[in-house]
C-alpha cells in the first residue's frame, strides 16, 4: 500500500472509531437526559451532562481526524512472519488463560499457559519451558496467595 493510501486508511479508521464512540456517548447521554427530566424535577444538570459533552467532543474530533485536519500519518510496520505468529500465539494463550482460569484453577491453568508462553515467546524446548513454567507458577503462587492472601481461583480441581 502507498503511504498516501496508508495515511487515508489511518485517518478514516481512527476518525471513524472516534465518531462512533461519540455517537454512542450522545445516544446514552440522551437516554439519561430523558430519565433525568422524569426523575428529578427542576434539575438542570445530571448524569447526562458529561456524556453529552464528551460525546459531542468525540464526534468533532472524529470529523477533524477523518476529514478536516487529519494528523500526519504514522509510518508503521506491522509484524510479519514468525514474529507475528509469536504475537498471535501469545495473545491467544492469554485469552485462553482468561477463559480456563475459573474452571481449571490457578495451579493447572498457570502451569499450562506458562509452558505455552515460554514456547511461543522464547522458543524454549518443552523440558526447559516446563521447568520455567513450574518455577513461575510456584513464585506467583507465593507472591499472590501466600504474601498477598489473594483468593486465587481454585476451579474444578480445588487448587
Amino acid at each position: 500500500m502507498t503511504s498516501a493510501g496508508a495515511g487515508r486508511n489511518q485517518r478514516w479508521v481512527m476518525g471513524g472509531v472516534l465518531f462512533a464512540l461519540g455517537l454512542v456517548a450522545v445516544i446514552e447521554g440522551w437516554r439519561l437526559y430523558a430519565l433525568r427530566t422524569q426523575m428529578v424535577a427542576g434539575a438542570v444538570v445530571g448524569d447526562d451532562t458529561l456524556p453529552l459533552i464528551t460525546g459531542a467532543a468525540l464526534i468533532i474530533f472524529g470529523i477533524l481526524v477523518a476529514v478536516v485536519a487529519p494528523p500526519p500519518p504514522a509510518k508503521v510496520t506491522l509484524p510479519a512472519g514468525p514474529v507475528r505468529a509469536q504475537m498471535l500465539l501469545a495473545g491467544g494463550l492469554l485469552v485462553a488463560y482468561w477463559l480456563i482460569l475459573p474452571y481449571v484453577g490457578y495451579t493447572g491453568s498457570t502451569a499450562l499457559i506458562s509452558v505455552g508462553l515460554y514456547r511461543a515467546m522464547g522458543n524454549y524446548r518443552w523440558l526447559v519451558a516446563g521447568l520455567l513454567a513450574a518455577v513461575t507458577t510456584a513464585l506467583l503462587f507465593l507472591m499472590f496467595r501466600v504474601w498477598l492472601h489473594e483468593p486465587l481461583p481454585t476451579g474444578w480441581l480445588g487448587f
Binding site: Q10, M14, L18, G22, A25, E28, L32, L35, R36, M39, V40, A43, V44, V45, G46, D47, T49, L50, P51, T54, A57, L58, F61, G62, L64, V65, A69, P71, P72, A74, V76, P79, V83, Q86, M87, A90, G91, L94, V95, Y97, W98, L101, P102, T110, I113, S114, L117, Y118, M121, G122, N123, L132, T136, L140, M143, F144, L148, E150, P151, L152
Partner: protein
C-alpha cells in the same frame, strides 16, 4: 516552624520499622521492574501496584512512592545499558549514556545518574515540604467552580503529553473521559454505558486499564524488537574526581531547569530533560563530545528528570494535578486508598501527608544506598532473555489485574486495553492523555455538576468568580506555554530518534 514540627512527626512515623521496610522494598521492587527492558515507570508502577493493596494506606503509599522512585531510576539503567528509553524522558540519557557504556564506562554513567537523581529528588522534596502547604492553604478558599477551574488547568497537562499532535492528545483525553463514565451515574445511580451488562456496573478499574495500556501492550511491542544489553561487566560505579568535577555543575543546572519548569502543571519530564541536555551542550566548551559519551550529557537530563518528577509532587499533593503519566498512576493509587490529593488532604489527613513527605526523603536515600552497590545486579538483569521476561511480565500483569478486585472481568478489561494500547502506540496515539482524563474524569464531572447546579445551569459561573476565572486564564497561558515547549521537544525527539514519541 510549624512545617518543621509536622515534618518531624512525619519522620517519626516514616522511620518505624514497617514503613522503613516498605520504602526499601518499594525502591527495590521499583528498580527491579524498572530495569526490565522497555518497561517504563508507568508500567512498572501499574504492575507492582496490586502488591501494595494488602497493606494499610500509609505503608502502602510509602511503598508505592518507593516503587515510583525505583522505577524512575530503573528507566535510566535500560537507557544507559541497552539504549532503550522506557519513556521519552530517558531519550537524552541514551544519547551519551549508551556511548559511555560502550566505552566500558557504563558503571560511571549509572553512578552519576544515581547521584544526580538523589540530589535533584531530594531538592524537589525539600521544596515540596515548604511550598505544598502554602499552595494548599490558598486552595482552601476553593468552591466547586474553582475546583472545576483546577480540573481545566489539569487538562493543560494533556498538551504536554500529546507528542507532536495536539488533536491526537485531546481525542485520546476524550476517550479517557468516556471510559471513566462507565458504571453508575454519580447523581442518580443510574447505570451508564453498561448496556445492561452486570460486570460493567462497577465501572472500569484503573489498574486493569493501566496494566493493559502500559504493561501488556509493552510486552508485545518488545517482542518485535531485538534488545541486546552491553555485555561488558560493570566494574566501578563510583565516578572519579574528574568525572565529578564535570558532572556536578551539570547536575546543578539540570536540577534548576527541571525543578523550575516542573512546577508548571503542564510541564512533563519529557520536556525538561531535552532543555537541560541542550542547555548543557550549548554552554559546553566541547559541544562535539556530546552524543559520544559526555558525562554531562547523562548528569544534566537525569537530574532534570528527577527534579521535574519531584517538583511534580507539589501540584499533585497540593492541587491534585498530576504532571506526568507515572504521577497520574500514583494519583490513581492514592484515590484507591480513599485519599483525594488536593488542599483538603493537608487539612483532613496531615499525619498521613507528612509521613508520606518524610518517606520521600527516606526513599531518596534508600535508592542511593541501594542502587550504587547493586548496579552490577541491575545490569545483569537487563541481560535476561526476553523469552523469559515477556511471559513473566504477562503473567504478573494478568494476576495483578485480577487481584485488585478478584475479578475476571478486570482481567478481560486489561486484555482488551492491552490490544487497544498496542495499536494506539504502534500508530503513535499518545496513551498518557487517556490515562489522565480517565483519572480526572469523575472529579471533573462532580465539580461541573455541582457548579452548574449552583448557577442554575449557567456556565457563566466559571468566569464570574475571580479565582475560577484566574484558574481558567492560567490554564490558557499554560496551554500556550506547553504548546511551545512541546513543539520544541517533539522536534528534538524527532532529531534524535527519528520518531514521534509521547512525552
Amino acid at each position: 516552624m510549624e512545617v518543621l514540627t509536622q515534618l518531624a512527626g512525619g519522620f517519626a512515623a516514616a522511620l518505624s520499622p514497617t514503613n522503613l521496610f516498605m520504602a526499601a522494598l518499594g525502591a527495590l521492587l521499583g528498580t527491579l521492574v524498572g530495569v526490565l527492558p522497555g518497561l517504563g515507570p508507568t508500567a512498572a508502577i501499574a504492575i507492582l501496584f496490586p502488591l501494595t493493596t494488602v497493606l494499610e494506606p500509609v505503608p502502602a503509599i510509602i511503598m508505592l512512592a518507593g516503587i515510583y522512585y525505583g522505577a524512575m531510576y530503573g528507566g535510566s539503567t535500560t537507557a544507559i545499558l541497552l539504549n532503550i528509553p522506557g519513556e521519552v524522558a530517558s531519550v537524552p540519557t541514551c544519547l551519551d549514556g549508551y556511548p559511555m557504556a560502550r566505552q566500558g564506562r557504563g558503571g560511571v554513567a549509572l553512578g552519576i545518574a544515581a547521584i544526580g537523581s538523589f540530589f535533584a529528588g531530594t531538592l524537589g522534596v525539600v521544596a515540596l515540604t515548604f511550598f505544598a502547604p502554602l499552595l494548599a492553604d490558598q486552595a482552601l478558599r476553593f468552591g466547586p467552580p474553582e475546583y472545576f477551574g483546577l480540573m481545566v488547568l489539569a487538562f493543560t497537562v494533556v498538551a504536554s503529553l500529546s507528542s507532536a499532535s495536539l488533536l491526537k492528545g485531546f481525542a485520546m483525553a476524550a476517550v479517557g473521559y468516556l471510559a471513566s463514565l462507565t458504571g453508575l451515574g454519580p447523581s442518580t445511580a443510574e447505570p451508564r454505558f453498561t448496556f445492561d451488562w452486570g460486570p460493567l456496573m462497577s465501572g472500569v478499574d484503573l489498574i486493569a486499564l493501566v496494566v493493559g495500556l502500559f504493561a501488556i501492550s509493552e510486552v508485545f511491542l518488545g517482542l518485535e524488537e531485538s534488545r541486546v544489553a552491553i555485555a561488558e561487566k560493570i566494574r566501578n560505579v563510583f565516578p572519579g574526581w574528574a568525572d565529578l568535577r564535570a558532572a556536578i555543575p551539570a547536575i546543578l543546572r539540570g536540577t534548576g531547569i527541571g525543578f523550575v519548569l516542573g512546577l508548571l502543571p503542564g510541564c512533563a519530564p519529557g520536556v525538561t530533560v531535552f532543555m537541560a541536555y541542550d542547555a548543557e551542550r550549548r554552554i559546553s566548551r566541547h559541544p562535539e563530545r556530546f552524543g559520544k559519551g559526555a558525562i554531562e550529557g547523562v548528569a544534566a537530563p537525569e537530574s532534570a528528570n528527577n527534579a521535574t518528577s519531584s517538583a511534580g509532587f507539589i501540584p499533585l499533593l497540593a492541587l491534585g494535578i498530576p504532571g506526568s503519566a507515572p504521577l497520574a498512576v500514583l494519583l490513581g493509587g492514592l484515590m484507591v486508598y480513599g485519599l483525594q490529593p488536593g488542599p483538603l488532604l493537608f487539612q483532613k489527613n496531615p499525619e498521613f501527608v507528612w509521613t508520606i513527605i518524610a518517606s520521600f526523603y527516606i526513599g531518596n536515600v534508600i535508592l542511593l544506598v541501594l542502587n550504587l552497590p547493586l548496579v552490577g545486579l541491575w545490569a545483569r538483569l537487563t541481560r535476561i532473555p526476553y523469552g523469559i521476561l515477556g511471559p513473566v511480565i504477562l503473567m504478573l500483569s494478568f494476576l495483578g489485574a485480577y487481584s485488585v478486585r478478584n475479578s475476571m472481568f478486570d482481567v478481560g478489561v486489561s486484555l482488551v486495553f492491552g490490544a487497544v494500547g498496542y495499536f494506539l502506540r504502534k500508530y503513535q496515539w499518545p496513551l498518557a492523555p487517556l490515562l489522565l482524563a480517565f483519572i480526572l474524569g469523575p472529579l471533573l464531572e462532580k465539580y461541573l455538576i455541582q457548579s452548574l447546579s449552583m448557577s442554575g445551569g449557567s456556565p457563566l459561573i466559571f468566569v464570574q468568580r475571580g479565582l475560577s476565572l484566574a484558574l481558567i486564564l492560567a490554564a490558557g497561558v499554560l496551554l500556550f506555554t506547553s504548546l511551545v515547549l512541546v513543539r520544541y521537544t517533539s522536534r528534538r525527539v524527532r532529531e534524535e530518534t527519528a520518531e514521534e514519541l509521547a512525552l
